[in-house]
Subunit: 492 residues, 2 copies
């Protein structure tokens, strides 16, 4: 572990890349664009998964598992709905390797094993799932069908970055079918709200809930709801999307049901997903030049106890206190690790836990034993204090809530000071370049203007916020009439 | 849902296939050999995952995630260790689809998108993981490295059966690295014991712990530990394996460490895995001609409450009792579902829950309300009894343990009466054909005899049991000297 991280002000992008690797979250693999998620990074993802999974189940969803591969012909059915969908994906064409007769010790693809129909590694599962739903849905009694899948997906990305954009990534994809349009729209909104709840209360990331413009919408969707977060460099990050798909997929895959009146109709659909990209959002929202900063609600270890000692006797005495403390903290639901490795010195341990963002560090040394104290150090504020052992457990429990809230408030303050109302295109460009963040501006509602603004500034419309107040105004670019402001930003 | 399941005595194989589909566990998909795991089946798998994951973590393992794809060249490094490893696997050769210019609405593989090096969809991850471990291990302080991965894997199987053998399946694969041979062997044994513990205490499946013969061993392993279960048709099923890999993978991928004495050495390795195949074992061990039978420790719903009513008033009165009961049962850790669907009659609900193996059914009707009773029905024994509501919660809690134990005992009795000591080859063939089950017989220790016996009888050596008592004897086939009996059986 080399010591110094590039600072955010020096090179934000480099800071991020270094942090992900040095904090042992993930690394690049031998496979182009695919990452290895290391145990510490995966432990954070597991906490996210567990919370999201609980929230999905509480809202009536069930998990299932569908094939990794999608026959090309099913893509063709979907293609009618989704002309714009990227076709960069991994394609399986053969099913056997053989020893290369011309090259001892080498393998080659057996040309006799060519598949009749190519298989696509799922970039998303609408096609295979809707093809399956056709067999599951006959009548209104089978609806709503509320399915979620945790899976790996593959999109052949040309430029990749750990967590933010990788060829293979992990995600969940919800796919639901409903008897009415109204129900399906309500479901899409509900799941966008679940995402917002998760982002704010677990990730401590404030998000703006909104609707995508037609241009930014998922191909095949009639409406895309989203949550948008703001990173410390003033760029936006789309943290989750939830699509109202109308009857498009039902029609493409012929999924009909008999309604209560005995008539046949196509079902209404939604899909919604979040991915390991959330790890990127988590890292970029809270971390600092010393390394990762984790909100207690998602930290694999909320507290680490580091023993300070000079000999075995001291180590044993400190360990006894630490073990008792661990037990007490765990009984209160605090996850705690006693870093009793004898192969590392306290200084190295401090540095590691700082880099890895453990919210609270407790150091216990011989002096503490004499005085009945410990030293507490907060990762987020770097504040240290000496605390009496007999007050400690309640204090730590309170600190977990306080740190969680502080991180959220800090991110919220940053975000709110980076939403700038702008009424001229000159100002738009100036704010985008110099202040960065979200720009709240009037837009004439045309894809043409949206495209122009993107060409000139690289900013896109992140969303039309759901709580935006209607107001008369003029488009910041075309000067045409507009009824509401929308949010622009450069984005990940 | 059609009514009658083929009986086990009529056609065991057909019974299994029908049961999996009718109980809503899984179904075949549009992709050859790949299954869809339906919500009810997946809920059972999730319970298995949760228990196993807890056991892995309690024994010091961490989860991580490695790429789905393995470059062909990494396979070539592994190939040196694993000549026998099957090469039937899904091979990605291209990364882009395009609209077919000659065929409106159709897609084709873009020939310009051919990969320089083919990617193999992981059939198992030793190659990519050991290639990664090289970067993670420098000194003894990095050891032991105890990693597990939950993942999908693909093996191009020619003949597939739901859960038992599918082209894509879900599994966990543990991969560990150690400083000494002794530690690695201990790890492989430990994890085989963890699997046995899980099979017996959660799946209620008695298993025999043993060691594979060289012929039946995982290619690249120096020793393969396994657990073997017996299905109701008298065929064995390998339920889990744990491999001591020696230094084979460390040498193939050049993974060295500096030991405490400052010398470089190759690390010692293990790998171990169980898969969705366990679902097949669970189904085939306990289920009957009426459908699935689930042990309470793995049932998604341990108890289902079915209301009996003739009008809204009765429905409300029954619901009130049911809701109170649900709350009380949940507070005691019993998972319970109130099947209050108004679109199905009680008879249809009874049939469904019987088919789906819910361990205990509680029916509550208007008479019960008058008398303060409910009707309990056990799925495993079909026994029914009327019980006073105020004793019910403790009774249900006790029944969960009792049903779990009964299922285990029943499976154990069946298994134990189907281990037959045999000393002649005539008897061997007779028992195998007519009594079925495990045959305990002397074997001369040669692969030649093993092969011959398999050719003649289709029986393989399932394992050399770890607790086998040494005894002098003569090989059942060759008559040569033997020091211990081994277990033969036909197997899945």
């Amino acid at each position: 572990m080399s010591k110094n991280l590039t600072s955010r002000s020096e090179d934000y992008s480099k800071w991020y890349n270094e942090l992900v690797v040095k904090a042992d979250l993930a690394e690049n693999s031998a496979v182009r664009g695919c990452m290895v998620i290391k145990p510490y990074g995966f432990a954070i993802w597991e906490k996210m998964q567990a919370e999201l999974d609980r929230m999905f189940k509480e809202t009536g969803h069930q998990n299932a598992y569908f094939p990794l591969f999608i026959p090309k012909s099913l893509f063709e059915a979907e293609e009618k709905n989704a002309k714009g969908f990227a076709k960069e994906c991994a394609i399986v064409t053969h099913y056997r390797l053989e020893n290369d007769p011309e090259n001892e010790g080498k393998l080659r693809v057996d040309p006799k094993s060519k598949l009749e129909e190519e298989l696509i590694v799922r970039p998303t599962s609408e096609a295979i799932i809707w093809n399956t739903f056709r067999g599951w849905i006959q009548s209104y009694r089978d609806l709503p069908l509320l399915i979620n899948q945790w899976a790996n997906v593959v999109r052949w990305e040309m430029r990749t970055r750990l967590f933010l954009r990788t060829t293979e990534f992990l995600w969940q994809e919800g796919h639901t079918a409903h008897a009415t349009k109204q129900e399906a729209v309500a479901e899409a909104e509900l799941m966008n709200n679940v995402y917002a709840d998760f982002a704010e209360n677990f990730m401590a990331i404030p998000v703006i809930k909104g609707v995508k413009t037609e241009k930014e919408r998922f191909a095949g969707a009639e409406d895309t709801f989203c949550i948008e977060a703001l990173m410390q460099d003033g760029k936006a990050l789309q943290a989750g999307t939830s699509h109202f798909l109308g009857q498009n997929f039902a029609k493409a895959f012929d999924v009909k049901f008999t309604n209560k009146e005995g008539k046949q109709d196509y079902v209404w659909a939604t899909s919604w997903g979040v991915s390991t990209r959330l790890m990127g959002a988590l890292i970029m929202t809270h971390s600092d030049d010393k390394g990762l900063v984790l909100p207690p609600n998602l930290a694999p270890n909320q507290v680490v106890i580091v023993p300070i000692y000079k000999n075995d006797e001291q180590f044993e005495a400190v360990s006894e206190v630490a073990n008792g403390l661990m037990k007490d903290l765990r009984s209160k639901g605090v996850s705690v690790k006693f870093d009793n490795r004898t192969t590392f010195r306290p200084g190295a341990k401090f540095a590691q836990h700082e880099l890895q963002g453990v919210p609270l560090r407790i150091a216990i040394g011989p002096k503490d034993l004499e005085q009945g104290t410990v030293e507490l150090a907060r990762r987020d504020t770097f504040t240290k204090e000496v605390v009496l052992l007999n007050n400690l457990v309640d204090k730590v429990v309170d600190l977990m809530t306080e740190i969680q809230n502080c991180l959220y408030q800090k991110a919220l303050d940053f975000r709110d000071t980076h939403i700038t109302k702008v009424d001229t295109f000159e100002k738009f460009k100036d704010v985008l370049e110099n202040k960065t963040g979200f720009i709240s501006a009037h837009w004439d509602g045309t894809a043409e203007t949206e495209t122009k603004i993107k060409e000139i500034t690289k900013a896109t419309i992140r969303c039309i916020p759901v709580d935006i107040v209607e107001e008369e105004g003029k488009c910041v670019y075309s000067g045409k009439a507009s009824k509401r402001r929308v949010l622009f930003a450069k984005a990940y």
